[in-house]
């Protein structure tokens, strides 16, 4: 019993529990959900698909977790994804004969680089100029897609250079899709940062009490600046995956609404939007949960127009289950019913 309590009170329990229920639903209702097959040296299957498709969201939610832990928010990441995608595709170029205008590695670095620059911009606005995070990142959220449009001159640049598609799909000879590796690398990077530096402690400290953090010698401005820059970096990396998936830079649709999904993933993972303690593992599970939900809905035939409704309902349920208040209300209701039963029996 005690062990059970220990498990249920762990910060990872609820996110995992929610994901578990979703997966169970899938196993029961979706044909061949667990089936994984091997074709041409690649693994195929719904599970692989979910992992692969959730990769860019996982990456975004890594950056978002840090931002939210400092009690900030970054709603520009979706737009930054579009900018990163635009730069990358533009540099490779849309030549029909599949010859790149610039080396792909350069284009990729530029895509990530522009993400970092966007992050630095956000970071400066929030940390130095002290604009409220929502307002500061709103600027890029609104302007970002315009910038991406300018870069692509209003066109959808389609890239015919073959290796570019490897980022979003499989590198020849690799069993698993590339996004999974990229996401794994990013997670590893974050774990490394958290284990080897004190950034995690400082971020939490700043999120809980910025004044006391300053009085303890922490450079609060720098910490806040860093988390936004890192969030931009994550968005830059995501941009590469998103553009490679469709082999094009679509300024209007690349990364659309992804900022909301990322925030949701962080919230589902148990990190409070008011800042403070954060749970990277929870955020990753949250991101996978959201993608599982989307895949499930498509699999059981919900059209993409209706998807948001189903998503909303599921999210409400998930949030309710996680809410402390709801738990206490639910428990007291249960107790009352139980005692009622006892009374009835006697």
């Amino acid at each position: 019993m005690n062990k059970f309590k220990k498990i249920t009170s762990s910060s990872m329990f609820l996110p995992l529990f929610a994901l578990g229920i979703l997966l169970l639903f899938n196993i029961v209702f979706v044909n061949d959900f667990l089936a994984i097959s091997m074709e041409n040296g690649h693994l195929y299957g719904r599970l692989i698909d979910i992992l692969s498709r959730s990769s860019s969201l996982i990456i975004l939610s890594l950056g978002m977790t840090f931002v939210i832990a400092t009690s900030g928010i970054d709603i520009s990441v979706g737009a930054v994804v579009a900018i990163s995608a635009a730069i990358c595709c533009m540099l490779i170029g849309g030549r029909g004969d599949g010859i790149p205008e610039h080396p792909m590695i350069l284009a990729m670095l530029a895509g990530i680089g522009i993400g970092v620059i966007c992050g630095i911009w956000n970071g400066l606005l929030v940390s130095k100029i002290k604009i409220q995070p929502v307002v500061a990142t709103l600027i890029l959220m609104v302007a970002g897609r315009g910038i991406a449009q300018l870069l692509t001159q209003g066109q959808i640049i389609t890239v015919y250079y073959k290796p570019f598609s490897y980022i979003g799909a499989n590198i020849p000879g690799s069993i698993l899709p590339t996004p999974i590796f990229i996401a794994a690398l990013m997670v590893l990077l974050v774990i490394l940062i958290l284990k080897k530096t004190s950034l995690g402690l400082f971020i939490q400290s700043v999120g809980i009490n910025p004044t006391a953090s300053r009085y303890a010698g922490i450079n609060v401005v720098l910490i806040i600046f860093l988390v936004y820059a890192f969030s931009g970096f994550c968005a830059g990396v995501s941009g590469l995956i998103e553009s490679s998936l469709i082999r094009a830079a679509d300024a209007n649709n690349a990364g659309l609404n992804m900022e909301m999904d990322a925030i949701l993933a962080v919230a589902l993972g148990g990190t409070l939007l008011s800042g403070g303690k954060f749970y990277i593992g929870g955020s990753i599970i949250g991101a996978i949960t959201i993608q599982t939900l989307t895949t499930t809905m498509y699999a059981i035939g919900v059209s993409s127009d209706q998807l948001p409704v189903v998503k909303a309902i599921t999210v409400i349920i998930l949030c309710l289950v996680q809410s402390k208040k709801f738990q206490t209300v639910f428990n007291s209701w249960k107790n009352k019913r139980q005692s009622q039963k006892v009374v009835d029996r006697t």
Binding site: N209, A212, A216
Partner: protein, 502 residues
Amino acid sequence: MGDTILKMRHIDKIFPGVKALSNVDFNLQSGEVHSIMGENGAEKSTLIKVLTGVYPRNNGTVTLYDKEIFPKTPKEAQTLGISTVYQEVNLCPNLSVAENIFIGREPRKFGFIDWRQINKRSQELLHTFNIDIDVTKTLDNFPVAIQQMIAIARAVEIDAKILILDEPTSSLDEEETKRLFTIIRELKKRNMGIIFISHFLEQIYELCDRITILRNGELVGEYITTELPKVELVAKMVGKDLDSVKEFDKAAAKSIPSDQLFLEANNINCIGKLNQMDLTIHKGEVIGLAGLLGSGRTETAEILFGINQINKGELKIHSDKVQLSNPMKAMQKKIAFCPEDRKLQGIIGDLSVRDNIILALQAKEGMFRHIPYQKQVMLADDCINLLKIKVSDREQLIKNLSGGNQQKVIIARWLITEPELLILDEPTRGIDVGTKSEIQKMAVTLAKTKGMSVVFISSEMDEMIRTCTKLIILRDHKKVAEIENEEISSENIMKAIAGGEN
């Protein structure tokens, strides 16, 4: 004194892993001021919180006017007639004074909030307290003392039968305290029952009719103030004899400063905060900054720690000219600072005791020189043992500790950075007698054994007299006097603060 209006019987309160209150009784009569006293962690606040519905009780009964009550929220308690003014002012600094007084029960007119009436009634109410201010201004325009009065006014306005004052005087100066006492006596005449919690013994003896003493969450007893000598009271609170406290009064216990200069400030100036101040701090010296609230004590400390910058004059440390443009610069010069407002400037509430202890050291070492977990544990455990910090374990959240233990954690945070100058700004405010003398002793011991310089800031003259070898008296952001060694006495300090002429 009238009838017993409030009876608390056999109160138990259990927190996960800790029995906070066990079998505590408490009685309150109408028209009396009743003090609850106890050391740090005696769970006075918990008892109050059980009464006001912040925590539900696990066992026992609370009866108000012979009716058992179960307040679940402070608001419910308020409706029942139990109002509280907490240790830290619990108002909204960004709302107007009038809004703060009427928040949650605004008078309405046609369904809309009747602002004119709110403002008018607030003005009248505060006038009865001799406070005449613009009630439409936001609260943060006023000093803490006024805010405190406003909090009390708010409680009175609710038409409370029981008023709980939790450390109401800790941020008030003498004049303001007197004013508050007048108000309390007036409320007493109106047959209100008042629970008064304070660490100032003199105030308790001046004001209270009865005293209930708690120790470690258990009832020690209920006494009539006039029949309980102070020494006995302290002995009952601490649960041990007072030789250790008395011993400390000997002048010989003080630290003798060396000739070596640690810090020298020449004519430093900070607009609106400090005017032309000279200051020298020697190694191993315990130096006191005295003066009324807002006289420039904290401001001086903040300049020395790089929170505010000087715009004139020069600062020298070890005879080198320095510029302390931020706290980190000061920390690199081996200066440490325990700020005045523990809750806001000191603790990181949701982090563990261990994290809170290593925070400053980690910041000083830098982000990339992460202190290994094993070493963190060692440092934290050493501090907990050395300073006798009462925690269930080192991973306990600091916000769940009592004020005195929180303060010890903050001091520990700075001690492990091995400072040469330790600035303690009101380190004993809101802390029980036992811990108070521990902290005073610590300041002197550090200076004596480690040659550390200590700047001690306090509103309590006694502890300054006991610990410091030099006192700087400030008034209106200016240094007005310097008192050394044998000349340090309450009389001389008072004279200096008052004007020095007579």
